[in-house]
Symmetry: C3
Subunit: 479 residues, 3 copies
Amino acid sequence: MLKRLTGGLFKPMLLNEDRLFPADPGTRTIARRLFAEVERLPLICPHGHTDPAWFAGNQAFPDPAQLLVIPDHYVLRMLNAQNIGLNELGVSTKDGSPFAKDAREVWRLFASNYHLFRATPTRLWLDHTFQTLFGLDVRLDAATADHYFDSISEKLSSPAFRPRALYERFNIEVITTTEGPNDPLSHHKTIREDGWKGRVITAYRPDPVVDPDFEGFLDNLKAFGEIAGEDITSWQGYLAAHRARRAFFADMGATSTDHGHPTAQTADLPSQEASDLYQRILSGKAGDADKELFRGQMLTEMAAMSIDDGLVMQLHAGSSRNHNAQIFERFGRDMGFDIPQPTGYVDALKPLLNRFGNDPKLRLVLFTLDETAYSRELAPLAGVYACLKLGPAWWFFDSPAGMMRYREIVTETAGFYNTVGFNDDTRAFPSIPARHDVARRVDCAFLARQVAEHLLEEDEAREIAVDLAYGLAKKAYNL
Amino acid sequence: MLKRLTGGLFKPMLLNEDRLFPADPGTRTIARRLFAEVERLPLICPHGHTDPAWFAGNQAFPDPAQLLVIPDHYVLRMLNAQNIGLNELGVSTKDGSPFAKDAREVWRLFASNYHLFRATPTRLWLDHTFQTLFGLDVRLDAATADHYFDSISEKLSSPAFRPRALYERFNIEVITTTEGPNDPLSHHKTIREDGWKGRVITAYRPDPVVDPDFEGFLDNLKAFGEIAGEDITSWQGYLAAHRARRAFFADMGATSTDHGHPTAQTADLPSQEASDLYQRILSGKAGDADKELFRGQMLTEMAAMSIDDGLVMQLHAGSSRNHNAQIFERFGRDMGFDIPQPTGYVDALKPLLNRFGNDPKLRLVLFTLDETAYSRELAPLAGVYACLKLGPAWWFFDSPAGMMRYREIVTETAGFYNTVGFNDDTRAFPSIPARHDVARRVDCAFLARQVAEHLLEEDEAREIAVDLAYGLAKKAYNL
Amino acid sequence: MLKRLTGGLFKPMLLNEDRLFPADPGTRTIARRLFAEVERLPLICPHGHTDPAWFAGNQAFPDPAQLLVIPDHYVLRMLNAQNIGLNELGVSTKDGSPFAKDAREVWRLFASNYHLFRATPTRLWLDHTFQTLFGLDVRLDAATADHYFDSISEKLSSPAFRPRALYERFNIEVITTTEGPNDPLSHHKTIREDGWKGRVITAYRPDPVVDPDFEGFLDNLKAFGEIAGEDITSWQGYLAAHRARRAFFADMGATSTDHGHPTAQTADLPSQEASDLYQRILSGKAGDADKELFRGQMLTEMAAMSIDDGLVMQLHAGSSRNHNAQIFERFGRDMGFDIPQPTGYVDALKPLLNRFGNDPKLRLVLFTLDETAYSRELAPLAGVYACLKLGPAWWFFDSPAGMMRYREIVTETAGFYNTVGFNDDTRAFPSIPARHDVARRVDCAFLARQVAEHLLEEDEAREIAVDLAYGLAKKAYNL
């Protein structure tokens, strides 16, 4: 059962073709049939965080550690939880303290702790990447670390592993990146202008100029006025700047906006009150309540603009960012220290919904990190408001059990057609096929159980499987 | 596999006899055996919202749209979520704006969107109704809409489809309706007096005169004093009016009261404080805190009266009603815009329970729309207080997965015997057999898994299945 | 199928060897193989509430009622929920009112209501105890009550059923009891000094002198100063007393502390503010906010001491104790009237974690009664902070479905290695093997499903099973 490799015999890594399907043989057979219908559909990636520079420059990715370990907050957090410091893993420090710079050593450290990821989605994504992308067939551990490092390094240096080649190999139909309002979108321009057929579009994420707690907020505002050519010292000028940048983003292909807020709070202030609030925010002296109110007001303003310009609105609410002060000071953001919080939607969304909730031109896709809201609030809301759609299971719940809970909890109240299919929502480009593979398998497993328990006919399940894997995302995001 | 019908060949609709049973063959066999014990037991309907006028007047139901679409908030909400306006569905408007009046057109609109209900309980209930009540055997869609409309219309006009005939056909042993304190119960009187053997009883739901936020509250109070023959301008007179109306309801067969509150808050004020609070409420100038306190105080007063008169008390807490102001103004209440909210029970019930929690004459059945409370609060509370019982999975959770979660989450702490069996809780009379069928199947599926995993012996499971389907409801509601 | 016994034929009680394993035959076979690896491993009992006097004195346990009914709050609460009063069950009263004193009558009452426990963990634990410890093979009910009473009584009087013999028979490797700071630990001293090879250690639970709401708090403080030989009238003296008693507990074998708080709130006050707060607490006039702040500050102080002395810290948060005032007055605490509450960890733990969260010498094991926190807060926290570990499913959730939910919800984010294996956490000594048996079976069932769905290889699952059953607890608690 062991594989022979330089250095000895090693445990094989096998992606079983039935992975994630229910164990009951009858149900598994149905799942296989459904999956055969969707396995090879093109990938729609309507929301994510890949770097447009990759597709613009099409340079080779660096070594395995820089590609797969150092930028992946899922990997960092699990290793940190076992007392392996971020600096040992090659994360650069902001305070000048030393950090590991030898990519092979970082990789070995990761490899020798790979057992920590057992039964996590990270393991699923990585094994899929190792096997299907890099052709590896032994299990990653301390003994195979160098074999992995060398094999992957070699592959990365070949033209077939450049970003554009991977885009094509992955069968991506469209991929959306996420940029702030002050981004000049030069990479997107390059991509559009040099004749490559790949479709890489942006999404408008205005948090840096909407969230008064964002790093450098007041400076961001200044730059925002400049790039938009508007006077952001007035409320009307500030709103005009958003309109201008949204129009530019839409010109560059954007079909959506995205809003990362600590809560789902919305507000609908009379114009003068909103203007006064903006002035307090602009003074840099606003308190927490004003900041929260401002973020809430801006969601409603963004909804108004979406009704005008047709951009689909996304709300990613409920993360308590940068939980540990020492880590934040030493390493900065996105180190795995963002922790979900209880997040309410019913009262929070009411101001926006009472204003625009029945407007057929609005589409607002909701995400949560508080799974309790799915059955209690989100499915009931998305199951009645035409403007609301449910985004897929997000972040920690972008996982087999997380996705299965999502379908089990959401479907009876919201059905399938008030959801928007899958988002891979990742900056880990090589993992994109793995993530869609997991989502498609879990959905087929869910549908197979529905068929096996005679809640759906198989012809219906087939149609739904295709919608969940492909059609709904394309439609929801106007792609 | 297709069925021939005027107009062509159509997909068959088949209610599989194993629907909702676990796919594992061994477990399914156990589920079948258990279900055979309960499938034909009479229906106990201890809580619901059917119209007593149906049983009193015994008139034919109108057309399919008025029977199955327009009054069903589950149907309305799902279609509204896909931009099909309530007015297009035939819901009458309060503002004089136009709405669809052609029943066949409404039915066609519904039929052509029936795929939206895939994997929802509405689909289960309706397919069961279509097949077992109306004898239909092709799938509902745009192509079969007229066939459905004509077939159902024809059936509805025959004597065998009048309300009393259906009551008998459905094998209902007793059905409870729900009326406000100002209802003269004339239909119940008619039913009792004209010699029909059906048992249609009422339940006392005092929300219109207990909840200061209820539409027309102050007018309701005035009418309450008149119908009860008490002076409701004093606290004592107001309480006396409740006692009088409860006695009248009990005379008309009621064995229970029902309380629909936004929260589970209770209060136990000294008599003078309660009286002062009532005067503030009566003035029409009370604030939100006073209103909440008054509702809470009234739950405790109702518990005191239940100890005296033996009516079983039900608390349906946690719905944020009429979430959208525009919809409420245009169409009124019960349009699918009631959304659950986080609901706490531990502190909220403490005042009532510290006063009456150990009185063996009190029985309080608790319902929730916040599933997180089941394992954290409700099962622990019902698993220790003799006066508390857990009502079945409610509203959005009156569904296969909702009921299964309920058993999985509740049973280990509260057992079976602190629950009260099934409530269909519906105004959709034709769906009542379907709802009991789903509940019985899900309970048998749950029990079959317990037997298959050797947590229960099959003879025990059989006994429990009968209790869940029949015995517990009858006993809990003193029927 | 019935068993012959004096008095007639009775239903057999059979612990099926496949109990708790998934019904699917293929998955069950995997579960059996995994369980065979762990079934006979020694028991690590790192947290619980057995009485050290049992092991010191090694006296025979009294009758079945006093062993298995009267001290078991799971049993009491379920019977009380069905209107069987605690006094009828032999619980002594504090107000002098009568209570049952005939052990056989109490046992009969319990036996004739044993069906109430169907599908609860109590039933599992007791049946396991009855069959494997006492050799009973018929089902407990009214008819077999006396047979049970006599059989168990006879066994209890034999030397083989003395505490030390049971410790050995149960294959316990180490068991931890829990004592307050004012306990002289004389039983532990006896156990250590008389040469018995059993390892019974204590844990430092300072609630009586840390929680201002604890019964007799100010008196406890006085005694605390005396036993520690420190002046507890000053903040520094009070902290010194803790250090002294912790050192004494550690000398007597303790490797851990335990903290039972109503919430998970921590605080990190400047020293002078902490000192001022302590003086307000000491005055006996502190309000609820001060009490909560003090408990929070003390968690951070305890963390500081743990970093110094290496004791592993446990936080059991979220129980609303003694929910019913009448019961508390009449019977005292631990009568089944402790009810979980919503419990937040993200903001609550931040002060402690910002101070000590990155110190590799701290280990803090978190427990919750609010299952919603597992996926939203606890797994994300334990999956990134090296000092945090997740304790097993606790109290109401120390049950097959509770443990399965725990693995399903926790594992994808926290993995296996940020959890600490199993705690039996019980005062019911005879049930300890049953509890470990349930935990091991559920973990093997979970792992078998992972293998069957190809998320883990079987060799990995085998290794994990052994860690969950044995290795993790030993390591996490430094045993």
